[in-house]
Amino acid sequence: MLGQVIISGVLIGFVYSLVAVGLTLIWGVMDIINFAHGEFLMISMYTAFWMYAIFKLDPLLTLPIASFFIFVISFLTYKLIIKKVLDAPGLTALLATFGLSLFIRNLAQFLWTPNYRFITESFVADKKVAMGPVIIGMPQLVAAFGSILMTVIIFYFVKKTKMGMAIQATALDRDTAKLMGIDTEKVYAVTFGISGICVGVAGTLLSTFFPVYPEAGALYSLLAFVIVAFGGFGNIQGALLGGIIVGLTESLGGFFLGTQFKYAVVFLLYLLVLQFRPKGLFGW
């Protein structure tokens, strides 16, 4: 029984991580809180859903399309909105993304109605793996593995590639990076785009077992904020561990204290971390 609870927590934790990686990148590199992060997640879920509903395409096949689509949307968001408010006082960017999130959410409701939709057929639907008494749903398992893989790829991209190093340099000191000849403008746009790819992948993977509706991203982005605070701003490994901590806290807390408290425990932990480690458990 306990094994089942722990495994469920860890699996959903990995998905949380991937959502949080996207958020933490923008936060760490640009010092901007992207409130529309959850809405990008929602758009990616809808992309997967419509590909399925119209073209009968499996979400796992549309994964590259959905991620690319969200990459483009994120990139454009940066170019059209964020860039304009980057040098304004901090609150302006925050309000801009907040406004954007409301706009996207209501637009989704206008275009696609607020109905809860599910993708009922996919390679992974209704399949499960039994390991003794523990049953793992295939959609969750695939989502978790996909998330880990994606997180590792992003990690290596940031640590090992030239562009990644430019991102790190810009995160540390934008002006100096600029003086060293780094095109910080491009770095920002790419960072935003990568963040979009994260939610693009996460949203598509989620759509195989989570309902698709205009508010679908809200809770995930809220939890992503908590994870970013746990992991430290801009810290990818931190986000990965933070996600697992949140997933485990949620399922163990829910199991032992009552399911109505499962998010309360998560947010309590968040408050405690903020009190004692304001930079996050793994922050620098």
Partner: protein, 427 residues
């Protein structure tokens, strides 16, 4: 740069077109005699899917009242407008409470003070109906709730409040009577009961009703083995279902909404939870989207419903109402939606019977009249002292082959009930 400016301009053009469309609607010339009634619904937010359908139902009522529909056997259908008020037209003013009780309260105030509505209906969520009806009480304006089912609403001693739907106390009794029927008639052997409920006014109160009601059914062998309360917004229900599986109940009572309910069913299947009966309070199960989303997996679930499409062939007036509704919404009318339709009809009928919009007189009619309701299986609506409709309009329905069949009481049966779930892999 130029491109982005062009984009922004294009965006504003599109936006202004949309807005223009709205304002044109609003600027329709005011008709001489127009009676305004406020309808507060969750038109955006987590329950918006349902809220939008309720709006269609109320628009259906508006169409029946204001147009001529001699084919429907209802008082206000025959002539255009309200005959006792010189054919005055009724206009429902919609407000959105976004599933938020605070907003429901302020919208009620706005509708009464600014829009000068003479009555209020809504709000679907009991938690929103509660504050909104208190505002109506303060301004002494009649409030007719359609589908809000928390029993607490009619326990407050309000003078200006009535409710169409059976409250969850009545529903709970209905559940236990149905289980008793299954045990007696089919030897179903149902004893252990679990309650799974959402952490809000509706869910919590449903659970309290089960705690209270089960005392009267102890002799029938029923026992409450588990209660699972879950947050109103959930990203997964793994832990919840694991707890249910461990308790292995015979019957599960669900107080949920469509999104969470569907997640539960998927998890039941994944973790192979096989109860004998699952009964749902007025919430997710009653939404036809439930069958659409789950397909075959929706079979065997059951719950009380004010109506089901299987009944249309037996009830011609209901079928005609559904025709109008379906043209707007694209789907068949369901239980909660029909209850909100009824609330719109009843308040208009009360105003017509009173012959005036004077709130006190309208309220008097509401309290003392038996309204005909050919669209309900009970056929009529009458409010008791506390404002509760004394005739329960519900039948127990069960999904069989994707259709909501009426399974109990036996005189409305369209199919006999199936008192056990097959294993998930044997469907």
């Amino acid at each position: 740069m130029k491109k982005s400016i062009a984009l922004i301009v294009a965006f504003f053009l599109v936006a202004s077109l949309i807005l223009q469309g709205c304002s044109q609607q609003a600027q329709k010339p005011a008709e001489q005699q127009e009676i305004k009634i406020g309808a507060i619904l969750p038109l955006t937010g987590s329950a918006a899917a349902t809220g939008v359908k309720l709006k269609y139902a109320i628009e259906t009522a508006e169409e029946i009242i204001n147009g001529e529909h001699p084919e429907i056997n209802m008082e206000l259908a025959k002539s255009a407008g309200l005959p006792n008020l010189k054919g005055a037209k009724v206009k429902f003013i919609f407000a959105d409470h976004q599933a938020n009780p605070e907003i429901a309260k302020s919208e009620a105030e706005r509708l009464i003070q600014n829009e000068k509505v003479v009555g209020l209906i809504g709000c679907y969520h009991s938690s929103a109906t509660k504050p909104a009806s208190q505002v109506a009480e303060r301004f002494q304006i009649p409030f007719v709730a359609g589908s809000s089912s928390s029993a607490a609403l009619t326990e407050r001693g309000l003078k200006w409040f009535t409710r169409i739907a059976p409250h969850d106390g009545m529903e709970t009794k209905f559940f236990f009577d149905y289980l008793k029927y299954l045990n007696e008639k089919f030897n179903a052997g149902i004893k252990k009961i679990a309650v799974v409920y959402i952490d809000n006014e509706y869910g919590v109160h449903a659970f309290q009703m089960v705690q209270k009601t089960i005392e009267n059914y102890k002799d029938d062998g029923f026992e409450l083995v588990l209660d699972v309360k879950y947050p109103a917004n959930v990203s997964n229900v793994d832990t919840e279902v694991q707890k249910i599986k461990a308790a292995a109940p015979d019957a599960i009572f669900h107080a949920s909404y469509i999104g969470d309910m569907t997640m539960f069913v998927k998890k039941y299947k994944e973790l192979n939870v096989v109860p004998k009966v699952v009964l749902s309070y007025c919430g997710g199960y009653q939404d036809p989207q439930f069958v659409k989303n789950l397909g075959k997996d929706a079979d065997y679930f059951a719950g009380p419903n004010a109506t089901t499409s299987a009944l249309f062939s037996k009830m011609p007036d209901l079928a005609k109402i559904n025709e109008i509704y379906k043209k707007k919404s694209g789907v068949d009318i369901d239980g909660p939606t029909l209850e909100d339709f009824a609330s719109a009809m009843v308040i208009a009928e009360a105003i017509n019977k009173a012959g005036t919009t004077d709130p006190a007189k309208v309220m008097e009619v509401l309290k003392n009249t038996e309204f005909s309701a050919p669209y309900f299986v009970s056929g009529k609506i009458k409010f008791g002292e506390d404002g509760q409709n004394i005739y329960s309009a519900s039948v127990m329905t069960q999904i069989q082959n994707g259709i909501y069949e009426a399974v109990w009481p036996e005189n409305f049966q369209t199919k006999p009930p199936i008192p056990a779930f097959p294993e998930w892999n044997k469907r």
